[in-house]
């Protein structure tokens, strides 16, 4: 979908990102030592099963986590560390240079504000554009996404279907032509056909704006369709990362292989065992209790390591 990127300086650089939540039940280790780069016009997919911490990574970059979250690490974006910015400073970046598409469009839109106003709002907030003018821009954008009827602008989210609300959010996220768009489970809860529509729309947006995309999804085939690179997350850690074709064609980490075997076209093979607790994660490699190839070494912690010169990385003792 997007062009092949050159390996110049990344537009977003996440280094050693860890997120913990203080809860009455204990410290939840939602993300540990997460590191990745995103380059211009590139699409990076962060895949993993529900609860593996991928949405937490997205929210952490935008400083949208609740107050009980403890965040360490860096997220470098145009010479700033996003994680260290004051609320006022990050608010100028949110929606303007980095925008996010939430996973529950119908609950994310304000129920009592017309959708046209909600799409146009970033223009008024960031560019101080007049209401009329901003609505005009919003209308143009909405019709490019296939919601061209004039009356739709003055309708409310509860009158829209989930898919239409998703398009409203996509329009909102791209209205200021941000450098990065984060899509947090954009197809969750949508049926297969609708999910494909949304994926196509996201691709269209990427082509229109030239933005980079951080796609957070549990849907590995969706990631395969639209991303340049894939990072596979398990229990708060990235276990494997590399070019989309390589990771899906030649998976190295046992978890990636197991995840691919779950797909219907590969025979629906479930991963044995259950997802580990994030409060008391397994010692060493977090996947070892479920891994068919575990050895004595797996009880020790393994760092993510580069496999070849092409950015392929894996966190496993086998390599």
């Amino acid at each position: 979908m997007s062009m092949c990127h050159d390996m110049n300086a990344p537009i977003l650089q996440v280094v050693g990102l860890s997120v913990r939540f203080e809860t009455p039940l204990g410290l939840v280790h939602a993300a540990e030592d997460v590191a990745f780069d995103i380059h211009e016009t590139e699409t990076l997919a962060l895949v993993g099963e529900t609860g593996c911490g991928k949405s937490v990574v997205a929210s952490a970059i935008m400083q949208l986590l609740p107050g009980n979250a403890v965040v360490d690490g860096k997220a470098l974006f145009s010479k700033m560390d996003l994680l260290k910015l004051e609320e006022k400073e990050i608010s100028r970046i949110r929606g303007n240079e980095i925008s996010i598409i939430f996973q529950n469009p119908s609950l994310s839109l304000n129920p009592i504000i017309e959708v046209g106003e909600q799409i146009a709002e970033p223009l008024q907030v960031h560019r101080k554009m007049a209401r009329r003018e901003s609505h005009h821009v919003a209308k143009g954008l909405l019709s490019r996404l296939g919601l061209g009827e004039r009356s739709l602008m003055s309708m409310y989210p509860f009158q829209f279907s989930g898919g239409m609300n998703q398009r409203v959010m996509i329009a909102t996220s791209m209205i200021l032509s941000p450098k990065i768009i984060i899509a947090d489970e954009p197809t969750k809860g949508l049926d297969r056909a609708l999910a494909r529509d949304v994926a196509a729309e996201i691709c269209k947006v990427m082509d229109l704006t030239g933005a980079s995309l951080l796609l957070i999804t549990h849907d590995i085939s969706l990631a395969g369709m639209i991303s340049d690179r894939i990072a596979v997350m398990y229990c708060g850690e990235i276990v494997e990362m590399g070019k989309c074709k390589e990771v899906l064609g030649e998976p190295l980490h046992p978890y990636t292989r197991a995840l691919l075997d779950c797909l219907p076209e590969r025979g629906f093979k479930p991963i044995p065992g259950a997802s580990p607790s994030m409060i008391h994660p397994p010692q060493g490699c977090k996947f070892h209790p479920r891994c068919p190839h575990k050895t004595q070494e797996c009880m020790q912690k393994q760092r993510i390591r580069k496999i070849d010169g092409d950015g392929r990385q894996v966190r496993c003792w086998q390599y």
Binding site: M62, L64, E87, K88, S91, R92, I93, R94, G95, N96, S99, I100, F102, N104, L107, S108, L109, N110, P111, I112, I113, E121, P122, V125, H126, S151, S154, Y156, F158, Q159, M169, T172
Partner: protein, 322 residues
Amino acid sequence: MSCTNGATMTFSGKKAIRYLLAIILIFSLNFAIPRAMPGDPLANLLGEDVMLTEESIAELRAKMGLDLPLHHQFMAYWRDIFRFDLGYSYHLHSPVSAIILSRMKWTLLLAIPSLILGAVLGTLLGALAGWKSRDAGQKFETGLVLMIYCTPPYFLSLLSLYALSFKLGLFPLKGFYSTGSALDIAHHLMLPVIVMTLFSLSRNYMIMRGSVIQERGNLYAAYARAKGLYGEELLFRHVFKNAILPIITLLALDFGFILSGALFIEIVFSMNGMGNLIYDALLSRDYPVLQGSFLVITLMVVSANLLADLLYSRIDPRVRWQ
């Protein structure tokens, strides 16, 4: 756009008809109650303590049509209501409608500024308090407002009357006026209006605060923040409109019971308004005055509810489309 207006029209129309039916039903009950009560309907209509001779009783019975068949009485009752003839008070020796009109304007003069001030200030301050509920200054303010909220109205009225009027002599001790000039009336009204404003404010403040705290946790607020809204912009562009919905119901109650709501204040400050009128009528069993007040209050409550419904539907589109 035309589609929206059409929907609003039928919505308001339906609501208005429903409330009109409610008024007709309540007014009919008002007709039935004195006639269904045990004992002589005449006594029930005039008040128990009214002493009359046999001749005047017979004369009144004929004049009030109590010897006519019920449906004739019912028609006459409605005719009187449309003429705003609410009967005659034998305690106060005056037509009930004239009494109510003269008392009502004073109560409205006291209650309307208080309720408007209380609504505006309470909503705004409460919204800010909910928005910054972790801020130490806000916590102090909330504690203060909570104290007013919990104090019985008559107690705070007495306290302020004693301290500010009696000890310091800043305000007059009683009544609505002494000379009757505008300045004099304003001076008399100032302290009661302040006290009543504080109560209305504290109630709206607490509700609005809770409502904002609840609303700001919703996903749409998080998304608005993700769009780059900052601080109070987020509150007033997104959260406020959603949070104010419960306040509208409260305002309808306040304005509906505006005539009786000022009762404690009127008693403590010895003001001859509607509250005192109803209270005295209750003590002396002056039924015509009670019934007349009852009808006026009914009208106020029903129209305040209708207004709240319309306002609610203006703010929340989900109401007018379902």
